[in-house]
């Protein structure tokens, strides 16, 4: 049995079918990048993995059990924005995971436990390249540094699965390349299973082990919401070639539609 089983997953909002018949198996350690036109349900899919949305039909099974229907510590997340706590310094943002874990009542640690958490957080922050900014507040950091912080913060709790929702969408191209290297590095080091949404097809081709393309196979021009998106391609990265890339690129452009309000 695989690590994550996605069984005949549907998501509908009233008449609008967002996702239909999603079936997939995911192994531990897979790094899956998800691309698709905007409004095709990528984020809805990620939210179901996260537990903030529930499937209309079908189920996601994690390690033989239905995935918990609310966010929990085994699934870390980095959003495009607002992932870090503005009222805490960089160091405290990362220490928080350990404090929440060991101090159920106050969420605060003292003495040796505190020093241990501090040391661990500092090491993690040094690894993501924020060793020089421990006592800064998030608003003093650039966008790229904030995302590094968000990654470190998530990893402190040692999640098995890391969900990334267009984490680098708001960053400059140069910084994005650095972030790719960092994510790959952390993925190997922490043996994570990663799902990453991106709107950048190139990112999908260069990162990870599998590329999923979400797209509508059936389309009714009279009722554009009648059919949902499916996983139209599941490509092992590394075996994809240039012509496939160009073909997908054209297809996604053609099917691009205004984002549906969800």
């Amino acid at each position: 049995m695989s690590y994550i089983d996605i069984n005949n997953l549907w998501k509908e909002y009233g008449d609008q079918v967002v996702l239909e018949r999603i079936n997939a198996q995911v192994k531990k350690g897979d790094f899956i990048t998800i691309v698709g036109a905007s409004g095709c349900g990528k984020t809805t899919f990620l939210k179901m993995l996260l537990g903030t949305e529930s499937p209309s039909r079908g189920a996601i099974v994690l390690d033989g059990k239905p995935i918990p229907a609310e966010p929990s510590a085994e699934r870390g997340i980095v959003f495009q924005r607002y992932s870090v706590f503005p009222h805490m310094t960089v160091l405290k943002n990362v220490m928080l995971a350990r404090e929440l874990e060991h101090s159920r009542l106050l969420g605060l640690l003292f003495g040796t436990k505190r020093s241990a958490a501090k040391k661990e957080a500092t090491e993690l922050l040094e690894r993501v390249g924020l060793g020089h900014a421990l006592n800064k507040y998030p608003h003093e950091l650039s966008g790229g540094m904030q995302q590094r912080l968000a990654l470190a913060q998530s990893l402190m709790r040692k999640p098995a699965i890391l969900l990334l929702d267009e984490p680098f969408g708001a960053l400059d191209p140069g910084i994005r390349a650095d972030m790719h290297a960092l994510v790959l590095d952390l993925w190997k080091q922490h043996q994570l299973t990663i799902f990453m949404i991106t709107h950048d097809l190139k990112e999908g081709f260069s990162l990870g082990t599998r590329l999923w393309v979400f797209d509508k196979l059936r389309h009714d021009p009279q009722a554009p919401n009648a059919y949902g998106a499916r996983v139209t391609y599941d490509i092992p990265v590394g075996q994809a070639d240039r012509s496939l890339y160009r073909q997908l690129n054209r297809q996604l452009d053609a099917n691009a539609q205004p984002a549906t309000p969800v």
């Binding site: 903030t52 966010p71 929990s72 510590a73 929440l100 159920r104 605060l108 913060q153």
Partner: protein, 278 residues
């Protein structure tokens, strides 16, 4: 010549322009007061500055012949005590209920309509009920302030909690936080500076309720004194008292602002950068 919207006064000019209306007001008062006093030296409506000096000396530095108290300080102390109790209780209630309502949907469903209902009752209309229920002592006056501003504080704080991005609450859960821990470590510290903002906004109303309650039933207090000496048309006491209340209100407001800047530097630089369109 630049357009008017692009011309900015320098520092000296700003001070001058800021003080100018005060100076004009002062001069107008002096002219009017002088005109009335030449007509009738016993006029009480617009006293001369010398009368103000006498009244201030009498109220602030001389013991009252009958009670032996220095009235201004006794009045100030009892008014500020009532204000502190009223605003303190309201702030605490606003924080507790605001955070609970904002964080827990089931509590919000139950309390939010009630708080909205309470906030729409004009507090002055139930002042008689307070006097009947709590007697004419300190409690009724404090309660008027509490009833007057608590619903506003709860609603404001609840709104501030709801404005915290959902991403943060989800993130905290993925770090293993319980509901209680989220309230304690994520929500509470982020709304504390907003509580100070809300309290500053509600202080005007708090003073209003304080003075109204003192005017109706009290034996000391700034509002009580003003309404007492009104019987003798004692403008020489009323106007200094009004200025003194204004100064106290300013000091309290300024103090809260400084406390907020000092305790929550992240909040103020955050709102400053957002203000710049970032």
């Amino acid at each position: 010549m630049k357009k008017l919207i692009n011309q900015h006064p320098n520092k000296t000019a700003r001070w001058f322009l800021g003080l100018l209306p005060f100076a004009i007001l002062l001069v107008l008062y002096l002219i009017a007061s002088d005109a009335r006093l030449t007509e009738n030296p016993n006029d009480k409506l617009l006293p001369a500055f010398a009368s103000f000096g006498d009244a201030i000396y009498r109220m602030a530095f001389e013991a009252n012949k009958r009670s032996g108290d220095i009235l201004l300080w006794v009045d100030t102390a009892s008014s500020l005590t009532r204000l502190a109790w009223g605003v303190g209780i309201s702030a605490l209630a606003g924080l507790v209920f605001g955070v609970l309502n904002g964080t827990i949907p089931f509590l919000r469903a139950s309390f939010s309509p009630m708080v909205t209902f309470l906030s729409l009752i004009p507090p002055m209309a139930i002042l008689p009920i307070l006097f009947i229920g709590f007697g004419l002592g300190e409690l009724a006056k404090v309660m008027l302030i509490v009833i007057g501003i608590t619903p506003f504080l709860i609603r404001d704080l609840q709104q501030r909690v709801l404005e915290i991005p959902a991403e943060q609450l989800i993130k905290a859960q993925t770090l293993g936080a319980s509901t209680w821990q989220i309230m304690l470590r994520v929500v509470l510290p982020q709304v504390l500076p907003r509580l100070i903002d809300a309290v500053r906004l509600s202080l005007g109303a708090a003073w209003l309720f304080l003075i109204a309650a003192e005017a109706i039933a009290a034996d000391q207090g700034l509002g009580y004194r003003i309404f007492l000496v009104r019987r003798y048309l004692a403008m020489d006491v009323i106007l200094p008292y009004v200025l003194w209340i204004t100064l106290l209100a300013f000091v309290v407001d300024y103090g809260l602002k400084k406390i907020s800047l000092w305790c929550f530097p992240w909040f103020h630089s955050l709102t400053a950068t957002q203000g710049n369109g970032k």
